[in-house]
Symmetry: C2
DNA sequence: CAGTATCCTTTATGATACTG
DNA sequence: CAGTATCATAAAGGATACTG
């Protein structure tokens, strides 16, 4: 998301006026961070790692990979490093042989998981609508003119 | 996200037990859809388009691109097509010359925006914590052993 | 105007081999 | 065990030209 601002015609801030809380008018810095966080969480593995750690608490590197499933060492390392950098997890190295490294969610990490709960619930509630919309679209509902 | 299930060792379902609501035990299909939706919304443009449409209501193709800012025609087309397919927006073609195509959020689209409000609020609330965590990490707070 | 078609670059992810 | 290093591929994204 580095090269985003190219033609940006003055991105004004909008507020999702919802029931939860009235965030007033946010600033562009915040908007950027929001997108960054969403992108991060959407990077195919972060969310999964977050879920596994929510379920299992303290988990070692290899075990974490097994629990996540289908992830390469490389991506697992990258993902937990990012999460550590963002303060979402703690990484504890036990200087023993063989090495023992344990990962655990921080309070920040846990709260992020909760924040996404709204999305989770939304999908539970509207997932079938999407499925139906797709079927309709595939059947060719596009060319509606007026 | 097509080739996800590779070595997946029986992905059991976890529930973000939060304050919002107790979703009971979800199924793998749901989990997959959740990730799919998150991935979609995180594809760099969907969220932005969603926000613009929330703010402006009915918007034409080119205008939408301007409001989003920095998006290529190709990606804009792709993004709105996906959103249309998922039932998040409606696409209305007015058979006039020059063509006039208007996009608008559906109720489903609006509700998705609201669902992500939790994330938005989380970032507003914890964005600075992440910033501080990054600074600390960059300064070299990693090699904590125990 | 609202796209579609192409070509090209960057980034994400994977597979594999190697190490303290 | 917990990585790192390297090679290779695919998908995302962007730039540009063209069209009904």
């Amino acid at each position: 998301m580095r090269s985003a601002a190219v033609l940006m015609p003055e991105k004004k801030k909008k507020v999702h006026r919802v029931t939860v809380a009235p965030p007033a008018v946010a600033d562009p810095k915040l908007e950027a961070l929001v997108r960054e966080i969403i992108e991060r969480v959407a990077d195919k593995w972060t969310m999964l790692v977050l879920e596994v750690l929510e379920e299992h608490g303290v988990v070692r590197f290899t075990r974490l990979g097994e629990l996540v499933g289908g992830i390469s060492q490389k991506m697992l390392t990258k993902t937990v490093r990012q999460m550590e950098r963002d303060g979402l997890v703690t990484r504890t190295v036990h200087p023993v042989i063989p090495p023992r490294v344990e990962y655990q969610l921080t309070e920040l990490g846990r709260s992020l998981g909760e924040a996404f709960c709204g999305v989770w619930i939304w999908v539970e509630r509207h997932g079938d609508e999407i499925a139906r919309a797709r079927e309709a679209f595939e059947r060719g509902a596009q060319p509606r003119s007026k």
